[in-house]
Assembly symmetry: C2
Homo-oligomer: 456 residues x 2
């Protein structure tokens, strides 16, 4: 498969890129050493992540600088001192830094167009010492550097790019896919890009439990895909992969094995006009609930809430009688939206309500409620249960949503940020970025992208 | 419960009625004897049915004259001679007779406003000799005359009237309810009207198997209600009672026991204007498929076909995506109609089609079919299966029905008689009779009639 060579050339960073990254890395490392020295703080700066493992994709390199404290320092002190050190480093680099939050606060800055995250953590040697999730990163770097052969780095890059084109690269809630570390482990396990795909093609959700160590007993995890972390057997590296996304990976892997082509790595971008067209010709009912936040919220927190809101809204509307084809969410610059696609904007005027079985407790209440009031028909007996036909008071999806918005179970944080509903073509203009346009395009088309590659 | 006395007075035939019925009975019997004598045919005329058992309701008496042949005559000869005798009897009585057909042909005539059925059959003494279903009638008469006490006839009349008011009196396919003989047996079993209702109130479909004889082993029948015929243990007298109707009987019996009143025996009649009003204010989609037959068809045959057509139409339309609240049928004077009530006249423009699981055989076919053509969205993976959103070509219920009318499984006989579709208020005028107006009224209201009696 010569085309893989071609793709590899595209996604391997250029000499120039390596130079830039190297410069930035040494700059931040130097600054960190000097700040720690000045402040007389006993911590060790280290660079981890895909840059340190040389598995990053061309054009997407970033630097993860860890400020690692000895494990005898209390968590609160580590966080406080860590953030202080990070701020001093940013100052020294004359960079404007943004505060971010994952499992605990960290700093994000940009140097020569390279994103640099400065993350405090503990310096650990084994998983028993791990206190915060970021501490494990150091162990991951060491494991990969020891176990991933140099010639396998290209295979990691290919597999990352493959998943990226499918929209399955990343363990964050927004994506619920395959993390960089998981992809590295898959190459360590299966040797090559092709062998990894051959194995993935055979997977079945909830039937796969992969381990690199003999000793680990299976069956401890109940996620759709299990890959036990070789540096910490208590952790499933693939915990983030949703069942839906696992199916998508399996199907794509099968298709690639059967029909390998460059096309699988292509990512089609859309423009806003195209999305307008899709929205205009759509004969479904498309709706977005819009949220504006007053303050910065950690992305994973917002995404978690958006996903919960999707589920709650879908269940609520389906209980009311709507058919919801799909839901989706977007978050960008302290604004968010939950999208719904329904088959119709209104419900039929009359519906059938199922009541209790004829021998059940609630019968008298049900009959008292409906036999005098203006039921369209009934109460009547059907399949051993009481039923009535009733006229709907509210039939309009938008109206029903707006009236019940605070009773559906949408997280409070979102409710406070709620800014109303937008419909149809207006959805194209809710956010600024190209990523949003692409997201909307892919959500509306909803076609697995690799299908374009197997058609003839 | 004094009101029961009052009702009993209303439903017991008057002296005058007894006189009329007696006159007609002896007329037809005399005529039959004389015809058989003239033709030198070895058969015995006997009167059976509710008149001979004195359990008929005032105003509803009819005469069942059986021409009973010895069992050594072949069936074809018995039928031929039987019908010939019946025709001669009608001639002698100067009556114009209609040919009818149940399990075999018989004659219906009217004398002094009394309906007389002349039915050929075999003269049998035990069920082992029974050759045609009508032969058993003689055994039923004998059994009831021997086992139903004279003072219990009133209880039979009350129970008949009770079921009649519920629309559950009659074993024909049109009604799928309780036959007169079954009601007589219930009174023989439980003694009184009230005791019968108390027992019915405790019934559960598929859990009741009643026998008047010790020797009969249960579990041979799988109908919702089982009452083993005391004159023929191979037969379930309650075979015709549908589960739906059994539930209705149970619920009504429970209500009566708890809240006994005259009201349960009332039958409310409607007028065409009322039905017009109901149709006009209905916000559902009401439709009738109309059938005109060229020739007379036995009622039970047509009703069987209509019921089958109801099921087939409902299933077909629900597979297409419609919500069918209810179906019903009517037959009168060689015309018939099947009624449907749907929640909407049209389907949404777009629907979701579920395809094969991703590892299944049909995947390639499904993808080839939908990935190039203009699917609204997809093919996409959802819950491990391929799906697409598709535009509907036809959305209109009437149109979809008309296009598929011959592919749905509606019986051929009906298809040949099909005369098109009528909608909404037009349904009020499809048939002439008061019975039709009442039927439509009850079907549209669909309220169990006795509910009026327990409201407060």
């Amino acid at each position: 498969m010569e085309f893989l060579e071609k793709i590899l050339r595209k996604i391997t960073p250029s000499r120039e890129e390596y130079l830039t990254m190297g410069k930035v890395a040494s700059k931040v490392l130097t600054a960190a050493y000097s700040v720690l020295n000045e402040l007389q703080i006993d911590a060790k700066p280290e660079i981890h992540g895909s840059y340190s493992k040389d598995t990053w994709l061309s054009g997407e390199g970033d630097i993860d600088l860890f400020i690692l404290f000895p494990s005898n320092i209390p968590l609160s002190k580590m966080r406080e001192q860590g953030l202080y050190v990070a701020e001093r480093v940013a100052e020294k680099l004359k960079c404007c830094a943004k505060h971010r939050y994952a499992s605990h606060p960290y700093l994000e800055l940009h140097i020569n167009d390279v994103k640099v995250d400065i993350v405090p953590g503990y310096y650990v040697r084994t998983y028993e010492e791990v206190k915060t999730p970021v501490d494990r990163t150091r162990l991951h770097t060491i494991y990969v550097l020891h176990n991933l052969k140099k010639e396998q780095r290209g295979h990691v890059r290919l597999l990352k790019k493959f998943f990226k084109a499918l929209g399955l690269y990343g363990a964050e809630i927004k994506v619920q896919g395959f993390s960089g570390y998981l992809i590295e482990l898959l190459i360590i396990k299966y040797g090559t890009f092709i062998n990894a795909l051959k194995s993935i093609a055979e997977w079945k959700p909830y039937k796969v439990s992969i381990s690199l160590e003999e000793a680990v007993q299976p069956g401890k995890f109940n996620e759709p895909l299990v890959f036990i972390d070789p540096v910490d057997p208590r952790r499933n590296v693939a915990a983030a992969v949703s069942e839906e996304n696992l199916w998508k990976a399996i199907a794509a892997a099968q298709a690639f094995i059967e029909n390998p082509s460059e096309c699988f790595f292509n990512v089609e971008h859309a423009d806003r006009e195209e999305v307008f067209e899709l929205l205009k010709n759509r004969e479904t009912f498309l709706l977005a609930l819009v949220y504006h936040f007053n303050r910065y919220l950690p992305e994973d927190v917002v995404w978690g809430q958006l996903k919960r809101a999707e589920r709650k809204l879908k269940n609520f509307l389906e209980r009311k009688g709507f058919k919801i084809f799909s839901t989706a969410s977007w978050y960008e610059n302290a604004r968010a939206a939950v999208f719904l696609e329904a088959s119709t904007p209104t419900l039929p005027p009359v519906f059938e309500r199922k009541g209790p079985p004829i021998n059940a407790q609630g019968v008298k209440l049900f009959l008292a409620k409906y036999s005098k009031t203006g039921a369209v028909a009934g109460p009547y007996i059907k399949e051993g249960k009481w039923h009535v036909l009733l006229k709907r008071k509210k039939r309009d999806l938008t109206e029903i949503l707006e009236e019940n918005i605070d009773k559906i179970g949408v997280p409070q944080e979102l409710l406070k940020a709620y800014k109303g509903i937008r419909l149809g073509e207006n959805l194209a203009e809710l956010f600024e970025s190209q990523e949003y346009v692409d997201f909307l395009y892919y959500w509306l088309r909803r076609k697995e992208p690799w299908l374009e590659c197997v058609e003839n």
